[in-house]
């Protein structure tokens, strides 16, 4: 290369670093995605995430609501908590969170030991990475915990295959004052599918997709029976 080209490269080499805000934002999103995968596994539950939230009191929820998983997550993330407990990959579709602006407690992983570096996972294993605009609303940690608990219970219903119970539970807890509206609507779509009510699932999916077009749960809903039927009817 010519000296001029080298000089040019020297000039631009360190010229486009991200901002600290970029770094914080992406880290929060990673945490949320990992939490979703963990919550969908067997070891880390939404309840644990809820405890997390409790311990973080006062934080804006927009970020941490992200940690909620409804239905099992497709993330497949294996999280090792400080106890070194490994979690198996998640199996079903998941609901992931809105963006995050604040850091959560560190997740510690053990020092690598394998000989061969692992290649990146296939794209389909890394869902739940779309993050809609953050929630502008502050909520009490109690109300958030209540919602997390509801969604956790719905998740268990769905894991048991009890869609009717999941639908009933979501119906009975309907409220306008929800911080996890997208998650609840996505859960309802999945619950209606599990309950064998595809027409209602289609309606719910349509409403969800129109009102939460950038939601992290979109892919889960699009894979559901409601969206599938919609495509057939198109």
């Amino acid at each position: 290369m010519t000296p001029e080209t080298r000089a040019f490269l020297e000039q631009v080499r360190d010229a486009e670093d991200p901002t600290p805000e970029d770094e914080r934002r992406v880290l929060a999103a990673v945490r949320a995605t990992v939490a979703v995968g963990a919550a969908a596994g067997t070891g880390v539950t939404v309840a644990k995430v809820s405890q997390w939230l409790a311990s973080l009191g006062g934080w804006k929820v927009g970020a941490l609501a992200a940690c909620v998983a409804v239905g099992a997550a497709a993330v497949g993330a294996t999280v090792t908590e400080p106890s070194n407990e490994s979690l198996p990959p998640a199996k079903a579709a998941a609901v992931a969170p809105p963006p995050q602006r604040r850091p959560a407690p560190p997740l510690v992983v053990p020092r690598p030991t394998a000989e061969t570096p692992e290649a990146p996972a296939p794209r389909q294993e890394d869902p739940a990475r779309r993050h809609p605009p953050p929630s502008k609303k502050l909520v009490t940690s109690q109300s958030l915990r209540d919602e997390l608990t509801l969604l956790e219970t719905v998740q268990l219903d769905l894991k048991r295959g009890d869609g009717a119970q999941a639908v009933e539970r979501l119906e009975s807890h309907k409220t306008d004052d929800t911080q996890l509206l997208a998650e609840r609507r996505a859960a309802m779509v999945l619950a209606l599918c599990a309950a064998g009510r595809p027409e209602l699932a289609r309606e719910a999916a349509s409403e969800f997709l129109s009102q939460h077009p950038t939601s992290a749960q979109r892919s889960a809903v699009e894979r559901s029976c409601g969206a599938a039927e919609k495509r057939l009817g198109d």
């Binding site: 290369m1 010519t2 001029e4 080209t5 000089a7 040019f8 490269l9 000039q11 631009v12 080499r13 010229a15 486009e16 670093d17 991200p18 901002t19 970029d22 770094e23 934002r25 992406v26 880290l27 999103a29 990673v30 995605t33 990992v34 995968g37 993330v75 497949g76 993330a77 294996t78 999280v79 090792t80 400080p82 490994s86 850091p103 560190p106 997740l107 510690v108 992983v109 053990p110 020092r111 690598p112 030991t113 394998a114 000989e115 061969t116 570096p117 692992e118 290649a119 990146p120 996972a121 794209r123 890394d126 990475r129 779309r130 993050h131």
Partner: protein, 190 residues
Amino acid sequence: MALSLTEPGLLAAGEAATPVAFETVYSANFRRVWRTLRRLGVADAQLDDAAQDVFVVVHRKLQSFDGRSLGGWLYAITVRVASDYRRGASRRATSPLSDSIADAAPSPARLSEMHESVRLLHTLLEKLDEKKRTAFVLSELEQLSVPEISEVLGVNQNTVYSRVRAARSQFDAALRRHRQHTNPRGTKHR
């Protein structure tokens, strides 16, 4: 350049297996991953998602990863993710850069100059095909050695040499053409 891809003292090769916080790896490498994704052609609008994908993989795989070459491993993930985004995304045809680089500029004049230089860099990188672009970014901007790039990309060193050489030549020529076009009298351009 050593391929530790971390700040000095972090995760040095051959260290005994000890718990490492994901956050430590993240904070030591985020800037480089971000920058590399961008230079490999990930559009600004997708940088968050791409960086998130990289570090989700890192988080998931870190415990089972070979401790000797974290840098190479991270670059390999970054290159793979960038390639996925380049292929799958409907990238903006023009103006691939946002104004975010302004944050690092100390003065308006310097900022403007830097902004233009970075734009030019990306314009020139766009002229390279994906393989040459990747080799060039890793070699000339990330300053990895050929053996290191060979490890990252999983191709033999002769192939890397060939790609880097071709990319340099192409980049050189494109920059020269650009400067002749914008500065036909041949005045020094810095």
